[in-house]
């Protein structure tokens, strides 16, 4: 999944630097004024070095980004910023000296500030800028984490909704109702049983739609109900074999994960074969991962082949959302057999 570039407060950083320039201008002008320089010339003298300090403060953002608080070691961060503070403050003194020399040449009266005090001021202001940068970066990081979590939640929710909608394939309902209508005439008891099966199935689907997770056994139970309904329509053409080991059955899976895949296996697989075929579902636990395999025959010459269907993409999306990308879903078709393999680390 592509992560959009997080908002990094560039404009706020600029405002902060303008503020730094202002603070620098005020404090250094005050410093000059306290040594007897009139206010006007003090401000003129302090302006260019303060502007420079603002720029240095802005540049220190890159060093802060290069040495994030959470990742770099405390001592290396301290050393980097101490060195950089000394360098920045030295540069600021050089500008002070140069600018005061130019002013002295112009007005004839030299301003002689206490350079050690100015140096200290430069170092302090540099560290103030660094503190502001780190604060901003932390805000960004936490907001980014929040957004990522939200994206996963939205994805999971969307996938659930799509799965739920796909679940209610109207043709499944129409065909089942048609089968019931047919049974009413010839085998009324079977018709009654089928309405019961259909009702139980839809009730279960509705309940699953509101759950966050179910056990694999519960999901397999739903799938079996679905298959027993389809069996009424397809008769001997649909042969079902399900094998789930006990540990696998207790694993948690997203509700309605397998159902659309099994539905595909019937609709596009077994139903595409003249003689039908065997649908196999196997699940086991090994290497601390739940492995589920669905096998079914499929006519390689069927006309509804359209690459990977929505069912598969949906299942993959949901697996990705719940496992944060660790789960796998692979689908292959070879020699008239279609296979879906799911691996879900526990």
């Amino acid at each position: 999944m592509k992560t959009p570039e997080p908002n990094q407060h560039p404009t706020i950083a600029l405002y902060a630097m303008a503020a730094l320039t202002g603070v620098s201008l005020a404090t250094s002008a005050l410093l000059l004024w306290s040594t007897g320089v009139p206010a006007g010339p003090a401000i003129v003298a302090a302006a260019p070095p303060s502007l420079l300090l603002g720029v240095i403060g802005l540049a220190s953002r890159f060093l802060c980004k290069a040495m994030p608080l959470r990742e770099a070691s405390r001592s290396s961060i301290a050393a980097a910023h101490a060195g950089s503070a000394v360098a920045a403050s030295s540069l600021w003194l050089v500008i002070w000296r140069a600018w005061l020399a130019i002013l002295a040449r112009g007005s004839g009266t030299a301003i002689k500030p206490d350079f050690s005090l100015l140096f200290g001021l430069g170092v302090m202001l540099y560290f103030a800028a660094v503190a502001v940068h780190y604060l901003m970066l932390e805000l960004d990081a936490s907001r980014e984490a929040e957004e990522a979590a939200l994206r996963y939640r939205v994805l999971a929710r969307e996938a659930e909704l799509r799965a739920f909608k796909a679940q209610l394939d109207p043709h499944f309902l129409f065909n089942s109702l048609n089968a019931i209508a047919s049974l009413c005439g010839t085998r009324p008891l079977d018709a009654r049983e089928m309405t019961q099966k259909l009702a139980d199935f839809f009730r279960l689907v509705l309940r699953f739609g509101s759950l966050q997770e179910v056990t694999l056994s519960e999901e397999i139970d739903l799938v079996s109900r679905y298959l027993s309904i389809e069996k009424v329509r397809f008769g001997d053409r649909l042969d079902v074999h399900i094998e789930v080991d006990e540990r696998a059955g207790n694993c948690k899976v997203p509700p309605l994960l397998l159902q659309p895949l099994v539905e595909n296996a019937v609709r596009h697989g077994v139903a595409s074969m003249l003689e039908g075929g065997r649908l196999e579902i196997r699940a086991s636990m090994n290497d601390e991962a739940l492995r589920i395999r669905i096998d079914n025959p499929a006519d390689p010459e069927r006309t509804d082949v359209r690459g990977e269907g929505i069912g598969l993409q949906n299942a993959r999306g949901r697996l990705g959302a719940i496992s944060e990308g660790r789960a796998r879903l692979d689908a292959f078709e070879r020699a008239g057999q279609f296979r879906v393999d799911i691996e879900l680390p526990q």
Binding site: L177, N178, A181, S182, T186, R233
Partner: protein, 243 residues
């Protein structure tokens, strides 16, 4: 008696058609078929008046069955899918029953069939067959003289050659003869995959190895298996656009 053939791959669907039909003495079931192949065979053998036809069936769907018929019974589609209704209208189906349907609706259909059969109206086969296939065609269905039906996915076709009033479909060395005009087949296939490179040749362009100049202004297409086919000037223009 109105002789009826029922075609549906699901047994409950056949059951209810049989049950509802048995309520009308004028209708008689001539055959029940569980797939398209059986349907084509049954229609050839029984020459029924009415064909009750499911659409979605394995291998050969309802529309493909119609394309293969050499007789023209009254056709009524019976399906759970409403999205084929327009195509059904195109192929002059008399009615379109959506599953599940009521007995009343079924009786209305039977009355319409009765009326049509009494008037002796039947759509001419030729008018039906050209209009009814999915476009572009996914499978070419061939009916051999012995009644056997062969389904060839279009991706497997190398090229098609005109031969008198018929065509020969060449697929992996096998040559299958079909009664159809080459122009008609060309119009049904995907024009970006199959190009009429010559008056007598329709080529699957995936099979082209290269095009060579044969004489001034005349070219040949050399296929992967070494076959050489003539390319006309207009055929070359179309190929150049696509390749």
């Amino acid at each position: 008696m109105i002789r009826t053939v029922i075609v549906d791959d699901e047994s409950p669907s056949r059951d209810i058609l049989r049950e509802f039909l048995s309520g009308d003495e004028e209708f008689e079931i001539a055959a029940e078929c569980v797939n398209g192949f059986e349907a084509v065979k049954a229609v050839a053998e029984q020459d029924p008046d009415l064909l009750l036809l499911d659409v979605q069936m394995p291998k050969l769907d309802g529309f493909e069955v119609l394309a293969l018929l050499d007789r023209s019974p009254v056709v009524v589609f019976v399906t759970a899918h409403d999205e084929f209704a327009l195509r059904a209208f195109d192929v002059h189906a008399l009615d379109y029953l959506l599953k599940p349907f009521s007995e009343e609706r079924f009786r209305q259909m039977l009355d319409r069939v009765r009326e049509k059969v009494r008037r002796g109206e039947r759509a001419p086969v030729s008018a039906m067959s050209s209009a009814l296939r999915a476009r572009p065609l996914q499978r070419i269905v061939i009916r051999h003289d012995d009644g056997e039906i062969q389904v060839v996915p279009v991706g497997r076709v190398d090229y098609v050659e005109a031969s008198d009033d018929a065509i020969v479909i060449v697929t992996g060395g096998a040559r299958l003869r079909k009664q159809q005009a080459i122009g008609e087949l060309a119009s049904e296939l995907d024009p970006t995959r199959f190009v009429r490179i010559h008056r007598s040749f329709l080529l699957n362009i995936e099979r082209i190895e290269k095009l060579a100049l044969y004489a001034r202004d005349s070219r040949v297409a050399i296929l992967r298996d070494g076959t050489k086919l003539p390319v006309s000037r207009s055929g070359y223009a179309t190929l150049k656009e696509l390749l």
